[in-house]
């Protein structure tokens, strides 16, 4: 029982980070109906950003996140204008392939510069014991920061003008344009924020696990699962989806081999897509 509790706690803490990693994907998806296939490599960039700032310049990883966030925002805006804007109204295949080609470019350059060897951010805050469980404090900080960022995004989308514009464009781009919302700028901003969230999530993950330039791919796949669990464009939904996934990953290994986790995850993913493509908690019109 105690063992189960630890697994759930472990899964929950990780779930917050998963949720944050997925948030950028679901935001872009929800706002502009683009499935960003460069999400994984962008997460990897976030990991390497924190790594370089920490190992190279000795900057505290949590401070480094701020620089990584700014970089992510700018990168996303650039990607939007270079790769997405031209095909935003084209059939799905175009945006899928356009973002995938961005993924190839990032991964290709990343591999050339960093090689595919594993790195880690050697910065531990220690751990504390709770009953029989030992919990690294890094995880708690990561979970807390994820929650904070989610809350920040939620408030941003509700309370600020540009946030409301983003929601208006997500709801109905044509109507928003008629009401005078500068839709191209808002789309670029949304893509930037989505990318920023991905890099920040990557940076946080770097403080927890070792990684390579290809590591983001795993989180991209998880983000798809979370996207259909939590619905699109809603930060709280993404966080909930992340928590569900984290807890599943915590619980499943207690009664079957851990290698079955992805089998169950992806079957669940396909099943939910079939039944509720708008997501379990999503209410977005088709």
């Amino acid at each position: 029982m105690d063992f189960l509790l630890t697994s759930i706690l472990d899964g929950l803490l990780l779930g917050f980070v998963y949720g944050l990693a997925a948030m950028g994907l679901t935001l872009i998806w929800g706002v502009m109906n683009v499935i960003n296939l460069s999400h994984g490599p962008i997460i990897s960039l976030g990991m390497f950003g924190v790594y370089l700032l920490f190992s190279g310049l000795g900057i505290n990883p949590y401070v480094a996140l701020i620089f990584v966030a700014i970089f992510g925002l700018l990168l996303g805006i650039v990607i939007y204008f270079v790769a997405v804007n031209r095909v935003i109204n084209a059939p799905h295949l175009s945006t899928l392939l356009a973002t995938f080609s961005v993924a190839m470019i990032i991964t290709g350059l990343g591999t050339a510069v960093f090689s595919a060897s594993p790195r880690n951010v050697d910065y531990s805050l220690g751990s504390f014991t709770l009953g029989s469980a030992t919990i690294p404090i890094n995880r708690i900080v990561a979970a807390a920061l994820s929650m904070l960022i989610t809350a920040g995004l939620y408030i941003y989308l509700r309370r600020t003008r540009s946030g409301r514009y983003i929601r208006a464009v997500a709801n109905n781009r044509n109507a928003a344009e008629l009401m005078g919302v500068p839709s191209v700028r808002i789309l670029a901003l949304s893509f930037g924020i989505g990318t920023m969230l991905a890099t920040v999530a990557g940076g946080l993950i770097a403080t927890l696990f070792p990684f390579t330039i290809l590591a983001g791919g795993t989180y991209e796949l998880k983000s798809f699962v979370i996207g259909v669990l939590g619905g699109l464009g809603n930060p709280v939904g993404a966080l909930l989806g992340g928590l569900i996934l984290g807890v599943l990953e915590g619980i499943i290994p207690t009664f079957m081999p851990a290698t079955w986790v992805p089998v169950i995850e992806f079957i669940l993913f396909v099943l939910i897509l079939m039944v509720r493509p708008q997501g379990l908690f999503g209410a977005k019109k088709s």
Binding site: L96, M104, A112, V270, M274
Partner: protein, 345 residues
Amino acid sequence: MSSPNDTQLAATDTKTGLSAVLAQNAGSFVGLILPVAIILALTIWPTITGKDITRESIFTIMLSIALASSLNILLGYTGYVSFGHVVFFGLGGYVGFYLMAVQGWSLWLAMPMGGLAAGLLAFLLGKAILRLRGGYFALATIGVNEAMRAFINNFKPFGGPVGMTLNFQVYKDYGGAARALSLAFYILAALTLLIVIISYLVRTSKFGLGLLAIREDEDAAEVMGVVAPSAKTWAYVLSAILPGIIGVLFFFKNGSIEPVPAFRLNFSIEMIVMVMLGGQGTVLGPIIGGVGYQSLRGFLLTSPLFKNIQLAVAGALLLVIVLFVPAGLVGWLRNRFPALRRVLQ
């Protein structure tokens, strides 16, 4: 403009009707000339040069053409983006490999079984996920591929994470390893020719017209009477069978099979890139795309300048195609020179 009053709906303008039919007949199979010629040229080239290394690189090109042409039936004709199409290659390969390595079947029997397994999976999936439109279908196919890979990873009869290997003795039945390699090449050539002909027949058939209608506007197609659910499913099955057969052949030649190379998502995406490069929805497109993509890849991998960043260069090229030439080379030519349409099918 003719006034409707003097044109009866039932009345036949025999001239227009007849000449149209005649023109159609004269035009038939012209579009097949170029595709078949390219496949035949690729087939005999290694025989002429007599070099094994040429044969091996053409094997890769041929594999690309066959897989891209198969995918094109779904992607190009029907407009459904299967991002995880490699699942059919992997599953077919695994089923066939199991039959050869564990049950001692011959390649000749294992190949159709691989195709059958892939076709069956596509049929079942078709009933389930082909209802999803656009990006959702694409995502579901990724999910299916990942689920399958993870499952095979746990599936003991197929060797779990380590996969299976063929006993070297097996190749003796085919006249030794060297002969088996050359046999595999000619089988692949025949299969490639087959899929190209199938692709052409589909493109010019009533079934194919229904698929194109679905691609253009599925709801309108249904209103016109296209039975979209079944047409889509058969297109999916048709596009899955050959990758299943080829999977068996590929891993037979490879001598071993493992989950990661069998279900490599990037391989699926390479297929899509080839279809896009050449021109989706045309018979010739995936052939040009396969040859073009593999040649380019070969060049980048060996060029000292691009060797390290070949993936990034390929990505940049893909981006340029998607943004500026979305119809692909063949599509662009068809639009630019309508006179060539009959030849460039």
